[in-house]
Symmetry: C5
Subunit: 321 residues, 5 copies
Amino acid sequence: MIRVYKHEDGATRIVESVDPAWLTAGSGVRVWVDLDQPTPDEARVLSEVFHFHELAIEDALSELHHPKVESYGDYLYLILHGIDFRASEHCFSTKDIDFFLGAQFLVTVHPGVSRSIGQVAGACSRDERILAEGPGMLLYRIVDTMVDNYRPEVEKLSETLDELENEVFEKPNPQLARRILNFKKDISSLRQIVLPQRDVIARLARREFPLISEQLAYGFRDVHDHLVRLADEAMFFQDRITGILDAHLSAVSNSLNQVMKVLTIIATLFMPLTVFTGMYGMNVPLPHLPGGDGAQFWWILGIMLAMSIGMLAYFRQKNWI
Amino acid sequence: MIRVYKHEDGATRIVESVDPAWLTAGSGVRVWVDLDQPTPDEARVLSEVFHFHELAIEDALSELHHPKVESYGDYLYLILHGIDFRASEHCFSTKDIDFFLGAQFLVTVHPGVSRSIGQVAGACSRDERILAEGPGMLLYRIVDTMVDNYRPEVEKLSETLDELENEVFEKPNPQLARRILNFKKDISSLRQIVLPQRDVIARLARREFPLISEQLAYGFRDVHDHLVRLADEAMFFQDRITGILDAHLSAVSNSLNQVMKVLTIIATLFMPLTVFTGMYGMNVPLPHLPGGDGAQFWWILGIMLAMSIGMLAYFRQKNWI
Amino acid sequence: MIRVYKHEDGATRIVESVDPAWLTAGSGVRVWVDLDQPTPDEARVLSEVFHFHELAIEDALSELHHPKVESYGDYLYLILHGIDFRASEHCFSTKDIDFFLGAQFLVTVHPGVSRSIGQVAGACSRDERILAEGPGMLLYRIVDTMVDNYRPEVEKLSETLDELENEVFEKPNPQLARRILNFKKDISSLRQIVLPQRDVIARLARREFPLISEQLAYGFRDVHDHLVRLADEAMFFQDRITGILDAHLSAVSNSLNQVMKVLTIIATLFMPLTVFTGMYGMNVPLPHLPGGDGAQFWWILGIMLAMSIGMLAYFRQKNWI
Amino acid sequence: MIRVYKHEDGATRIVESVDPAWLTAGSGVRVWVDLDQPTPDEARVLSEVFHFHELAIEDALSELHHPKVESYGDYLYLILHGIDFRASEHCFSTKDIDFFLGAQFLVTVHPGVSRSIGQVAGACSRDERILAEGPGMLLYRIVDTMVDNYRPEVEKLSETLDELENEVFEKPNPQLARRILNFKKDISSLRQIVLPQRDVIARLARREFPLISEQLAYGFRDVHDHLVRLADEAMFFQDRITGILDAHLSAVSNSLNQVMKVLTIIATLFMPLTVFTGMYGMNVPLPHLPGGDGAQFWWILGIMLAMSIGMLAYFRQKNWI
Amino acid sequence: MIRVYKHEDGATRIVESVDPAWLTAGSGVRVWVDLDQPTPDEARVLSEVFHFHELAIEDALSELHHPKVESYGDYLYLILHGIDFRASEHCFSTKDIDFFLGAQFLVTVHPGVSRSIGQVAGACSRDERILAEGPGMLLYRIVDTMVDNYRPEVEKLSETLDELENEVFEKPNPQLARRILNFKKDISSLRQIVLPQRDVIARLARREFPLISEQLAYGFRDVHDHLVRLADEAMFFQDRITGILDAHLSAVSNSLNQVMKVLTIIATLFMPLTVFTGMYGMNVPLPHLPGGDGAQFWWILGIMLAMSIGMLAYFRQKNWI
């Protein structure tokens, strides 16, 4: 789908197609072209009207690219990643959003609906002034929205982390290892998403490109600041999940220890008793304990109890029970 | 709450509001405006009197930002983190303190009471000369106090570390894993707090900004030095806690080993005896041992004792007991 | 084998040998010499016709070199690694491909058939224009093909990773450790292959060498982008395989725990019963339980059942079963 | 304590106090002031005679600072760490030594007796020429002595490491974990001490400061070389101690394995025998084995021996015994 | 021992001593002085004839220095490490070789016979042209030979690694942990040897020093390339040995698991049987099973077999056997 927003003489209108004349310097027109999963036909506007570099167009129309910013003389080509968190699959996923920024135009290309683009497009149709501020400001608004959309997902991660930490100590269970592993994958994804975008935005904030005005650079510095914070949090999460994994292994070991202590206590209590009763079951004349025949059984029971109590006292002293 | 300290003609007074005229070069006035959890009404001074950049004001009034220093032409905008250690929760926490530094003014914004600001404000009301040294010197005093306030908390961490190290060897207990995990989180927090602030202060100490005089740079070099030391200590703590965790795992394994040795010794002692008594309990004619009928039992007991002593000697030789 | 592609006056022909006159500036000839496992005789063209530096020739003819790019004045010498994945051996392996790039010529040297060179050579014979674009463009085409050939192998790695992850939780088996180890080796190889090539291509993309035109640099920027992505994926794979190894160890520990619980439950159930039956097997007068002689056995059985049920209830409460 | 060494007209004398006139350029006097745990009264010489910067004096008189070098215009301020190894506590400890180096003076400040300063002071009183070479050369001599004093302590570490490595395999014992942990702390300390000093000396060796002559820089390059080697050794030690810890854990696991094998062998040998004897102890008519009544017992014994030998053969084949 | 090779007017001769006149610019003489474990008397040539810096001479005559290159104006001082692999001790060891390179001379100092020097010295006596190419080229030849001598030792490491990898899975044994630890030490040594030399050679290859001609720099680039490859291999080896250690730990855990399963199966099979036979050994009237007295025993045996088969079926279903 292709959508064209044109601003001229203080009015923003949605038009059908782009007139190359608008792009000449001094035309006073500002235009935003949004290509949402463009058909090959729609995509032809990139080469035929805007004359972008062949390699950039190829990148924009294919998927799975690394965030980057490249200057092609009088326009910039940016790839950024919008978040697309699918909670059910426990894995951050992202969608490429490609931007071509010129002095008078912004072209955005994305494979399917993008929440951030949608939000800014909505604002843009309601408020005439937004496109009036120029395509750079529009780019900043979209990027700012994209980065803000990361925040709630990161909050969810933080909550999951607290849960895992509690569970590992309170109610350990065999599913924990898998959930910890999945969480680690999420953290890795988050870092993989955030770090290259931070570097791209840093280049915009440092004003490496003359298309970025000083006013705009203040904005990108702010976005950069958010991305730095996200990268920091990802690192902090990684530290914590490593700690949780160690704690989990230590909990498993401890639990094994506990089980083995129970086993040892049981064996130590009953094995001597088995031998003892075995001895009194031997078919040889047995020594007579004090008292009459009826007292024999009770004497034996008494000795067995005494042995058990002695063992238990020994374990208590060793702090096993 | 808003508090305004005004210095003019050698006298420092607390006044009600800020007069924009004071901010013109050559007015000879020096002013410190402290906004403690400002109401929207109070916050309006930032935009209406000082004309700070919109994004900077937004950052200053919201929470949770990354330490940074940014130049906006004739004033600097700094975010630093004051410590707010809540011992009960085993986690360093911090409060943003925001600074706007101009040639004639310092504006501080913070969400709730700040110990460091309080200490410097106290000194400022008692001593006329402090504000007279200029807003840069005032900034240095506040930052220096903030960094000094980290020291006692770091000492506490160091003591906890010594305790954990002792406990892991002297009286291991199942709670240790959790305490080690919590300690690791504290260390991570400390590094996350200190490192970006170290970089911010380094930029001030390197005199990247003309607002920082050489005399002031000496001061910030000193603060930087403290932060470098804190960062070093955090790294050293991390090394040590990793070692403690390894030692804990090794202690658990060793303890498991001990338990298993006890079990094995018990089983090895009593299982053959069980079989032995079992054999004498069989309902078949048994071989007659030397001596009369009464001696049979004692012969059997003797053989069993000899077997046990042999086993124990074997274990002793294997260094198990 | 030696193959020479010559382009002159808009026509590309395959010729027998290289005429040194073609290499003079202004000759208008463009030539690609491909040496596939050259005999010493064939290799002499490098020194006698092209007069390359002795050390570069030595490197080109020997194997196992580190990717690099070196300027020797009016020509560049590059070593890159083409992939040669032998699935059966679970290990990435590579073949050196050496390039000499001059203003009018490209010389490629490789030990045995190279898929990438073959693909480009095929295109080159079919399409006259390819060599017409100059030797730099030809180099770019070969390098681009080489890097594209990495992609399917990396996809295979990604699938193997998903498999391993599933197996470690669903059907753990003793062969897993070996497969994880082999996978780690593959990842290491991948990084070892990709990182130095990324750095070589980055130098071309940065236009450190005047032989690389701006148009060409756009191409190499694109290749660089692919290599950066591969390097990122290798890092991500490494993170994941580390997680899988941890999960495997945790699974083994958990399984040990389960086994031990079974053992402990069995011992705890039957050891007291053994002692109990042993007591009733003693050759001493036994206490008479309520009921007639025939009821004795059933009373004993009842007591034993009650003991077992009690034990099981205890384990249930401890969440062991 | 304050000690002043004054060199004038080729003669070195120990004098009572410092005359500010000596410090004027062209006075031809060279002076070394050594402040050993100075009283506040003695410390006043720093501010009143030498007019050092207030913050530098504060740092010099307090303890626990990070090694650094700072230029204050016509003098340098250095903090370095002398070693103070207390073998009993298994931990490197250090003492700050502070230096103020000017064109005509060297001031050293240290908290208590310093071995290195003592050695150089001794040489200085015996040999007139030492102070004649200028304060820079004196600084170099002290620093060189300080770094040389690290060597024997590092040798001790290396020996301890060899011991630990042997013990972990030859005679593992529960105290090993603690000793390994202590050793790791020592290594961390060593790195923490050496790395920042290496960087300080590197700045002197690079001649960043005009006070350091070329001749002097050769000397500091040599000292830098020693510190680089120490840092390398610390890294190497860390690698080795990590390996030793892994070996220790592996040794504990192996030992557990051995214990469990013994237990399993014992159980497997005797449990079937227990059942077998139990069967012949049942109060039901038993099948008659070949031979007379007296042969029954020996038949049973033979069967039991055969069962045991079979089990042992099975274990031998499994390589357990 | 001291050996002097002198080249003048196209002829190389071995002479007795060095004449300082040869060293003046324009003398046309080229000289190589090789000091092999020089006596103090022989070492005097360094100071008296060549007038090298006192610190450089001290370094050259003592042992155990860090690889480095230093410019002393009109000559360079280099320390490099020749390999001296003692296979029996499983540890790379190296010997310092010191070089002084001037426009007309090369001085080499080494403690005892050096294979590389020996090889080049042999070539030098046989071939007049070698010394004619100048002392720089001679240095390059020696360094190239030194680095080539690393190759076979690295191949041995690679083979050992393959062996260890096989053994860890095929025939695990308790000596493996020690061999892995020793291998790790070797790898650490290799890195410690290679990395600083790589950096030294890189400085020569970058032509930081005017004594190195462009032609010579091509040679050192080639040597640098070999060292980079060695460093890469060391890193790769380290990755692999870490993987092998993990696999070893996992193998030990798995083996423990197997042992415990055997134990559990044995206990689970025989404990119920023990109780069962115990019940029939009780001295109380037992319930009569179907059939005559003689059938009792076989009924009991049948029940016991049925119980065992049931247990085994349970274990089979749990995939334990």
